[in-house]
């Protein structure tokens, strides 16, 4: 029986680090509320997805080693992103198929990795949050989180516990938003078409706020919403659950 | 080296082995000799009910007769209802039925000018509302050329799943053609709109006997 409480290492994710630190701080607040201590190892930059999905396995391996080393002393590795979490949990093992020692290390590492909302509900057994957000909100199911990590009910369960929050489902919530990492830069016309379909579905719900568990998706959708003059505001699910929405929404200027 | 040898050789190379051993082959032979029965969809205990329900769902129709001798009579009624000439092309097994002079029947392969064909089924499948027809039993063209195709199915012939039909078929030689027919001909190639009678029959009707 361990005498020290389990230590959680926060995997910040490169997008959160660069563009929306508030998501990281929201994650910390939530994990602490759940009764765990959180630390952020500094030797982290990126999970390696951009390299992996571009076919650069050597770079991906180096980044994987860097991440696994940075997080070796934590009981849990938690990321506020389904795609980063699935990279750590399911794809690191693919990188070391041919090396038994590193493969074992990656397997042990994988067992400790979680996406934020499912960590809160499935591990911390959090039933509700103490947040207030009296808005009509719709949730987009980011692809990796949904299909690789099985994240569907968990964020909804927690969102439904937020005071005043009215959760409405959009049509095709499980359909891709068109971000796909470098895809949206390499094939912008196709990406725009896909995100436009998503925006139409968002508008159909009359939601005031869009949320999801992946910042890449959110920036992509926020960018299209804003370009088309939409009034829909975009927040990461961690920000809503942690009651840290008193800052401008993603892509929004101060005072909007 | 022939392409045959080339292809077989490459297969073995890709699989990382040589020719299969005698033991391995005997395991495969055993599987072929006793084909495994896999998961099957559940079917109503009332096979006739499921069969006729599915038939209608796929756009086929059916009627009942108590016994075989009533078939020609039922046929005449149907043809009159559909306002079709009383001329049919049938398979040889139906020759022995008590035909009257009212209906002209021919026993041969179908021709383009035939409007109505009547064939006896080898089996039927309740799972999907399917009738199974064999070329050894009735000419295949009867199933496709005329616009109206009537199939005689005896209630006892209705099996729950397709696998039972294979079991029955294994008792004899495979014919040139086994047709599993589930409803009339259809297409959705124009604007995803279903249209019956693409190239095969527009109308499929089952006469259930028994």
């Amino acid at each position: 029986m361990p005498t020290t409480p389990p230590k959680v290492g926060l995997f910040v994710t490169c997008l959160v680090d660069l563009f929306r630190p508030n998501v990281g701080f929201s994650a910390i607040k939530l994990i602490e509320q759940a009764g765990y201590s959180v630390d952020v190892p500094e030797q982290q930059t990126c999970c390696g997805q951009p390299a992996y999905n571009s076919g650069d396995v050597p770079t991906t391996r180096e980044l994987a080693r860097q991440v696994m080393t940075a997080f070796e002393n934590y009981d849990y590795v938690v990321a506020p992103s389904g795609s980063c979490a699935s990279m750590l949990k399911f794809h690191y093992v693919e990188l070391f198929k041919d090396n038994p020692v590193e493969l074992e290390k990656a397997q042990h590492f994988a067992q400790r990795c979680y996406e934020l909302t499912s960590f809160l509900t499935d591990i911390c057994e959090m039933k509700q949050v103490t947040a207030n957000f009296p808005h009509r909100v719709t949730y987009h199911d980011s692809c990796s989180g949904l299909r690789e990590m099985g994240i569907k009910q968990q964020p909804r369960q927690l969102l439904n516990s937020v005071t005043g929050l009215n959760l409405v489902e959009m049509k095709e919530s499980e359909t891709c938003c068109g971000f796909g990492g470098t895809f949206c830069l390499k094939y912008p016309d196709i990406s725009t078409r896909i995100v436009s379909d998503k925006v139409a579905n968002i508008h159909h719900t009359d939601a005031e706020v869009l949320t999801a568990g992946d910042l890449g998706c959110l920036m992509n959708m926020a960018g299209r919403l804003s370009r088309t003059g939409s009034k829909v505001q975009v927040y990461h699910v961690a920000e809503i659950l942690a009651d840290m929405t008193n800052i401008p929404a993603i892509g929004e200027a101060e005072g909007e | 080296m022939s392409s045959r040898e080339q292809i077989l050789g490459k297969i073995r190379k890709s699989l990382g082995r040589g020719v299969l051993s005698a033991e391995q082959i005997s395991v495969l032979e055993a599987r072929l000799a006793t084909p495994p029965l896999h998961e099957q969809p559940q079917v109503n205990t009332d096979l006739v009910q499921q069969f006729t329900q599915k038939l209608q769902k796929v756009g086929a129709s059916f009627s009942n007769v108590e016994n075989e001798s009533l078939i020609p009579f039922a046929l005449i009624a149907l043809l009159k209802e559909w306002e079709l000439p009383l001329q049919v092309v049938i398979d040889a097994h139906l020759q022995a039925l008590p035909w009257t002079d009212e209906v002209q029947y021919a026993v041969r392969a179908a021709q383009d000018s035939d409007k109505v064909s009547v064939t006896e089924a080898f089996a039927a499948v309740a799972e999907t509302g399917t009738v199974a027809l064999l070329s050894s039993h009735s000419p295949t063209t009867l199933n496709f050329l005329p616009e109206t195709h009537i199939v005689i199915v005896h209630r006892a012939q209705i099996a729950a799943n397709l696998e039972s039909v294979w079991e029955k078929l294994r008792q004899q030689a495979m014919p040139r053609t086994v047709n599993l027919i589930t409803g009339p001909s259809r297409t959705a190639d124009v604007e995803q709109t279903i249209q019956l009678g693409a190239h095969g029959p527009r109308r499929l009707h089952v006469i259930l006997v028994g």
Partner: protein, 472 residues
């Protein structure tokens, strides 16, 4: 078939602006998706069948030589002939020889994707044969001189008006001069025109959905009945197929049929599922008197030994492309060859080369919906990524992208340096964008800002703030 995959990007852009195509695509997409969902929801055993289907195919592939040889001997036993073709050219050659020997004038065809793969029609027509596609969708695109845009519904990109125009133009020669409008009228006219072709054919060529080793049968799954008229009426019947179609027994085929119909069109069984075995028997009154099966390799034996082995399980249902957001936006022609959508993006590089087909595995968000709906549980995103890995190793990545990646990687591997630089860069961006909240334009991110605003960063990186708090 002409290869246009290198022009994927341009073709995709054109497709996105083609309003008629977009209208056709959204109609088709909804239909296929809803019908499939209804069919599988009504079958509690569906998941178990998927596992079983995967196991059947895996077993078969492990013993592919045995099952192909067994299939061959059974075909011969029933009076048929089996021809093995390593390459597309060889397959065409074999079929040309059979058709010449038959003194054929008219050849009818059932739908065959393998036929497209080997450019069969072009070869036959060049040799002077009249080739008539009889599947309605294939017939339509044959008139339009276009390739198929979907493996199940080849003319899915055509509207009713376009089909009406095509028929009006091409049916004059049969004395059919009326311009038709409704679906029933169009289908009926096609029925009439094609019926006379069926009856005049000397050779009929069909594909095969499955080959049964147990009995030496070839199986076709159709709704129209054209495949059956093609394989029954002519004196000579040729099945143009490929080696991975074989399954051990009738029972195995039945499991796969249960998966195929539902996944493709939402049907439990198509109108016609036909098992053809050998030649017309003694005493039978119709049926082909010559039966040939041409077995094509064209790279499949290589796939059997590499990372793409699982792709050989594909039963060509089309579910992946029906659910793909990319296919759904651009349609099949953008992919530039025979096989579109996710399965096409895996197969095309293997058959026409990675260099020519490079865009296909890259034009994907790896959303994973294809794998989710694949009845054979094929890990499509993994194989798309494998193509990207192979492209990187073969140095096929465009130079600019490769360098951008290298530069980014240099910093990502050095956290302290990365974080210092990021702090500065983000500080600048945050300062510049903070007032508006988003950038309407950003240099180096033109692809993004063309149609989207770029959300401005908060201004201080997380790591900078974290470090500051810790030292406070």
């Amino acid at each position: 078939m002409q290869i246009n995959s290198p022009q994927f990007k341009q073709r995709a852009t054109v497709a996105l602006q083609d309003m008629r195509l977009q209208k056709a695509l959204s109609k088709a997409k909804g239909g296929f998706i809803d019908k499939r969902l209804a069919a599988i929801s009504a079958l509690p055993e569906f998941e178990a069948l998927r596992e079983r289907g995967k196991a059947i195919k895996q077993h078969t592939l492990e013993n592919l030589d045995f099952y192909l040889e067994r299939f061959e001997s059974k075909v011969i036993e029933q009076g048929g002939k089996v021809h093995w073709a390593s390459s597309s050219e060889e397959a065409c050659q074999l079929i040309l020889e059979i058709s010449r020997a038959a003194n054929a004038k008219v050849i009818t065809k059932g739908k065959s994707m393998v036929g497209e793969e080997i450019s069969l029609n072009e070869a036959l027509e060049a040799d002077g044969f009249k080739v008539v596609e009889t599947d309605l969708g294939e017939y339509i695109i044959q008139l339009a001189h276009e390739p198929p845009s979907h493996i199940i519904a080849p003319a899915v990109h055509k509207t009713r008006e376009q089909i009406s125009d095509l028929f009006h133009e091409h049916h004059q020669q049969y004395g059919l001069t009326q311009k038709l409008d409704t679906v029933p009228e169009l289908v009926n006219e096609a029925r009439t025109v094609l019926r006379s072709q069926f009856l005049s054919a000397d050779v009929g060529i069909t594909g095969a959905n499955f080959l049964i080793a147990e009995t030496g049968s070839t199986v076709i799954v159709t709704n129209e009945g054209n495949g059956d008229l093609t394989n029954t009426l002519p004196r000579v019947h040729i099945v143009m197929t490929s080696i991975e179609k074989v399954v051990p027994t009738l029972n195995d085929a039945t499991t796969l049929l249960r998966l195929l119909g539902r996944s493709a069109t939402g049907q439990e069984m198509t109108s016609y599922t036909t098992f053809t075995t050998g030649v017309r028997r003694e005493g039978e009154l119709d049926g082909a008197q010559e039966f040939h099966v041409v077995l094509l390799d064209n790279g499949r034996t290589t796939m059997l030994g590499d990372e793409f082995k699982d792709m050989l399980r594909c039963i060509r249902c089309g579910a992946c492309m029906n659910h793909c957001p990319v296919y759904g936006s651009v349609g099949g022609h953008a992919y530039g060859w025979v096989y579109p959508g996710p399965m096409g993006s895996v197969l095309t590089p293997l058959m026409i080369g990675l260099k020519a087909a490079q865009d296909l595995p890259n034009a994907s968000t790896l959303c994973g919906r294809c794998e989710q709906v694949c009845p054979m549980k094929i890990p499509l995103p993994t194989m798309l990524r494998q193509h990207r890995i192979n492209a990187y190793e073969q140095d096929l990545m465009p130079t600019r992208a490769r360098w951008a990646l290298k530069i980014w990687a240099y910093f990502a591997k050095r956290p302290a340096l990365y974080q210092k630089l990021a702090s500065i860069k983000i500080g600048i961006l945050g300062f510049l964008g903070g007032g508006r909240g988003s950038f309407r334009y950003l240099p180096f991110a033109g692809a993004w800002t063309k149609n989207r605003d770029f959300p401005a960063p908060q201004g201080k990186t997380f790591m900078a703030q974290w470090k500051a708090r810790k030292s406070a």
